[in-house]
């Protein structure tokens, strides 16, 4: 199936244009998946916490919102690079390294959105669940998740869109390796640097379309949420 799609797409676009698009989509998909697995439970835990620990963890999670991507990229490069403690894993200039960078970078987008959805659930729902004999894990799976569904989907779309457009962290940790780490945003930068404006236009258009589609989905979900 994948092969059929690839062949069809390659007839309409050359490999040089197709590769960054596919890598970007893959990176965004994998990052979003990881963020769903890590971020949703974290968001739930935060929504049930209070006090100094909540403030500290919330602030830590929010740091990538304001930190320049180059700072995050720089320290990741030192941590994961050839002279760091994880050198043997060869994470820099590789797809897994990009995932790590993107997960850290998009973490607040998932967690804050989902946390807001969990906080919108009335405490009485959980109290009722507890009185029915549901343990904390069961309350999370059976009660909290379905009620926060739209918030989780919004968080996923936001993380997806954010990762698609990421440049600074990806450039520093991933470099610009064709078919491996050359994502859309870097391919555009590369095309402009080579004064190949045709390629830059095409790739930029693709990125704009993807970003717009993601935001459209987020808005639609937000409208549905407010009708509840």
């Amino acid at each position: 199936m994948g092969a059929i799609v690839r062949v069809w797409l390659s007839k309409t676009m050359s490999a040089a244009l197709l590769s960054p698009i596919l890598i970007s989509l893959q990176l965004a998909a994998v990052t979003t998946l990881v963020l769903l697995l890590l971020g949703v439970p974290l968001a739930f835990a935060l929504s049930q916490m209070s006090g100094i620990w909540r403030a500290l963890i919330e602030s830590l999670v929010a740091v990538p919102l304001v930190l320049p991507p180059t700072v995050l990229g720089f320290y990741l490069l030192l941590l994961l690079g050839a002279n760091g403690p994880f050198a043997s894993l060869q994470l820099v200039f590789s797809f897994p390294g990009l995932v790590i960078g993107s997960v850290l970078f998009s973490l607040p987008f998932m967690v804050r959105q989902v946390q807001a959805a969990f906080e919108a659930i009335s405490v009485s729902v959980f109290e009722a669940g507890a009185s029915f004999g549901l343990g904390p894990w069961q309350r999370f799976i059976v009660l909290a998740l379905p009620l926060a569904k739209n918030g989780i989907l919004s968080g996923a779309m936001l993380s997806f869109a954010r990762t698609l457009g990421e440049f600074g962290v990806v450039l520093m940790v991933g470099g610009n390796i064709p078919d491996k780490t050359r994502v859309l945003s870097i391919a555009i930068f590369d095309a402009v640097e080579r004064a190949d404006y045709t390629e830059a236009h095409i790739l930029s258009l693709v990125l704009i379309l993807f970003s717009f589609a993601s935001m459209l989905l987020v808005s639609t979900l937000a409208m549905r949420q407010s009708k509840i």
């Binding site: 890598i23 998909a29 998946l33 690079g81 820099v92 050359r182 640097e193």
Partner: protein, 223 residues
């Protein structure tokens, strides 16, 4: 509809990048157009696929030191090359001249573009030519980016590689080749960074007489 989205998502997430045996060549940005034009020839000569990554020489050396998986590195600065302590083709295979390109127009005022002297040999060359003059400068991260600043009109002129001007077929009336005595020469060398079986073949091919015949047509000089 939801099922379709989940299926597509799952497929995307499960795709693994294809394993292939192509040679990854990291090249100084000024050499990239030449390398792209030589690709078919080189691929046939050494029976292998080539992938190209480019940036300023300084950036590439820094990436290589951090573990970037380059098989070959085409460097425009022998001093930077030494930082990598790897096998180097004995002699540089070409010299890349510097030119000053000024956009046509009456008395334009604006910045002159140069490559970042800290990471790009063409930037250092430009600074040597500019010396003590007080000129408003804008620096690109690489020689290619400096070129694109001028091409897009953001800078009114720039110190750029001659080969990029010839590649873009810029009219000769718009630029002048700088006297080589005014700046440290920019020599291109091939560094082998991996044990890829075809890397040696490609390194030798790039430095061969046959390829040199084509390089001289692009504007390169004998080293």
């Amino acid at each position: 509809m939801r099922v379709l989205v989940i299926v597509i998502f799952g497929w995307l997430a499960s795709c693994t990048p294809a394993l292939d045996n192509s040679v990854l060549i990291a090249t100084a940005s000024s050499f990239r157009p030449a390398l792209e034009q030589l690709t078919d020839d080189l691929e046939q000569t050494c029976s292998t696929r080539i992938k190209i990554s480019s940036a300023s020489t300084g950036a590439l050396v820094a990436q290589a030191r951090q573990g970037a998986p380059f098989d070959l590195l085409i460097s425009a600065d022998p001093v930077l090359s030494k930082l990598l302590q790897v096998a180097v083709m004995d002699r540089p295979f070409a010299r890349s001249p510097l030119a000053l390109w000024m956009l046509p127009g009456d008395n334009p005022s604006g910045p002159i573009a140069i490559a970042n002297p800290r990471t790009a040999p063409f930037g250092q060359a430009a600074m040597a030519v500019i010396a003590e003059q007080d000129i408003e400068l804008v620096t690109g991260s690489s020689a290619a980016q400096a070129f694109s600043f001028v091409k897009s009109g953001s800078a009114v002129g720039g110190y750029v590689p001659l080969v990029l001007l010839q590649n873009a077929q810029i009219p000769t009336s718009e630029y002048e080749v700088i006297d080589p005595a005014l700046y440290p020469p920019i020599y291109l060398q091939v560094l082998r960074l991996s044990k890829h079986p075809q890397a040696k073949c490609l390194a030798e091919a790039i430095a061969s007489r046959r390829i040199w015949a084509r390089l001289s047509g692009f504007g390169y000089q004998r080293p």
